[in-house]
Amino acid sequence: MSSLVKCPHCGLRPREEFTIRGEVATPRPSAGADEAVWFDHVYLRDNPRGEHREYWHHSGGCRRWLVLSRNTLTHETSEVVDASTLKLGGGA
């Protein structure tokens, strides 16, 4: 990853404009879901060495939530899309 991130709305912007929220996790479980499902959702992480999809917030720009596909070994970003284009499916 360079110090620039390509926002789909604003173009190349400095990394300091973004707030990072981490792994695009499994969909939020329903309130009544099993304890194990909630534990998994809240605490466990895939944390892969390689391709990683994560939420970035363009807090110092258009304020849209983005999803980056980034390689955690090389810091290279292959794709940046607006989070609203993502289909996450319903809660478990």
Binding site: E16, I20, G22, E23, Y43, R45, D46, N47, P48, R49
Partner: protein, 416 residues
């Protein structure tokens, strides 16, 4: 060979031609009682205490690179035991006591220097929090002293006490805290373990873990297959990666943390100082360079380097604390990979597999824990019960709701 004044003299008079390597470089045997994955500080310390205190000699440490290439060679060398919580403080104090006797114990000069650690505070709320922390430390028998602004001014005159946003009101000092030469810690433990018969195998990456049912039978490595009775993971930074080999998901994210060294300066900081407002910490090495660091990068990374945004942030925080730093040149920066656990505390426990043991999740505080981590992990490996100071580091504490939340930053590793 034991190092002593006599051995120094003898070697000096024989023109330093007869020094022996500090540890052997053996080929892996087909079987070991215990295999420790990870030849970093914690892995080597585990092997050392396992062989010395618990008498297990048929032990191997597998290191994918060379000794000192991981986090043990990538930190800011600070040791302290200024912890607040019941589950943490006795452990880190145990570690501090081991540091205090370490060099005599393993007969190696690790340059343990108890120069003191001062945590600055900048508001009434922070002063109250540090007062409470200091009291908790004293209740555990750990030294702590709350210094007022005037006392600090005498001791550390170069700080910016009138900082507009974060005026320095005082600091919490632990006089027994300080620094240790980090590489020498790895070398000393490696030499000690080696002398007890432990095989330290470098350039040997574990590529797979063999199992039958819930039993580990051995590991596949870049230097062939090795079988074992017990397998121990001490690979902080790569914990999730290695755990994946046995289909284990962890409450851990990997983040890069950078550290920096400036050009050599005349001595002017004789303690470790941390800037409570900006997460900046600095000490001066015996060679004269300032050693300092700041926050983690904030996004998952396995690359042992950081980005410029963080370099700028750390430099700004340093300037806010010590304006005189503006003319100082940074010589080097480097990054290590931190196991950021979800409550900011380590995990040391048995796992869902009967003979696999896990040690990781040290966040950015693993260096100071090195001796106690090794001792307690060796205790767990040898006796199958946790050491009395490490009972709070259980794997299932997240599921059971017993988080060890020292800093109150919650479950988000990226909010640390």
């Amino acid at each position: 060979m034991r190092y002593s004044a006599l051995s120094l003299l003898g070697n000096a008079f024989s023109e330093n031609k007869n020094w022996k390597p500090a540890w052997r470089n053996p080929d892996p045997k087909p079987h070991y009682d215990v295999i420790i994955i990870g030849g970093g500080g914690h892995g080597l310390a585990t092997a050392y205490y396992l062989s010395k205190v618990f008498g297990m000699r048929n032990v191997a440490v597998l290191e994918k690179g060379y000794l000192g290439s991981g986090n043990i060679g990538r930190n800011t060398t600070i040791i302290r035991s200024n912890y607040l919580l019941e589950g943490n403080n006795p452990f880190y104090e145990f570690s501090m006591k081991l540091w205090e006797g370490l060099e005599q114990d393993f007969n190696f000069n690790a340059m343990v220097s108890q120069r003191g650690v001062v945590n600055l505070f900048h508001s009434d709320a922070q002063r109250d929090a540090y007062t409470r922390r200091g009291n908790a430390m004293r209740l555990h028998g750990v030294d702590a002293e709350l210094l007022g602004r005037d006392q600090l001014r005498e001791k550390l005159p170069f700080l910016d006490y009138e900082n507009a946003r974060f005026p320095i009101m005082g600091g919490l000092m632990q006089a027994r805290g300080g620094t240790v030469r980090h590489d020498a810690v790895a070398w000393g433990f490696a030499r000690g373990a080696d002398q007890n018969g432990v095989d330290i195998i470098q350039n040997c990456e574990v590529t797979g873990i063999d199992r039958e049912g819930d039993q580990i039978t051995g590991v596949q490595t870049t230097r062939g297959a090795i079988t074992c009775n017990k397998l121990a993971m001490a690979v902080a930074g790569s914990s999730s990666h290695v755990a994946k080999m046995v289909d284990m998901r962890l409450p851990i994210e990997s983040h890069a943390l950078q550290a920096f060294v400036s050009e050599g300066l005349k001595p002017f900081i004789d303690t470790v100082v941390t800037f409570g407002a900006g997460h900046f910490y600095v000490s001066q090495s015996d060679k004269g360079g300032l050693v300092f660091g700041g926050d983690i990068e904030g996004y998952n990374s396995y690359a042992q380097r950081g980005n410029l945004a963080c370099v700028e942030y750390v430099a700004e925080a340093g300037m806010a604390m010590i304006p005189a730093l503006s003319r100082v040149r940074i010589l080097r920066s480097w990054g290590g990979i931190m196991d950021m656990s979800m409550d900011g505390s380590p995990i040391m426990d048995r796992t869902h597999l009967s003979n696999l043991y896990f040690n990781g999740g040290w966040c950015y505080g693993g260096f100071k824990a090195t001796p106690a981590s090794g001792y307690c992990f060796a205790h767990l490996l040898a006796t199958d019960t946790p050491h009395e100071t490490a009972t709070a580091f259980r794997m299932d504490r997240f599921a059971r709701g017993y988080l060890l939340d020292e800093k109150g930053v919650g479950a988000q590793a990226n909010l640390h």
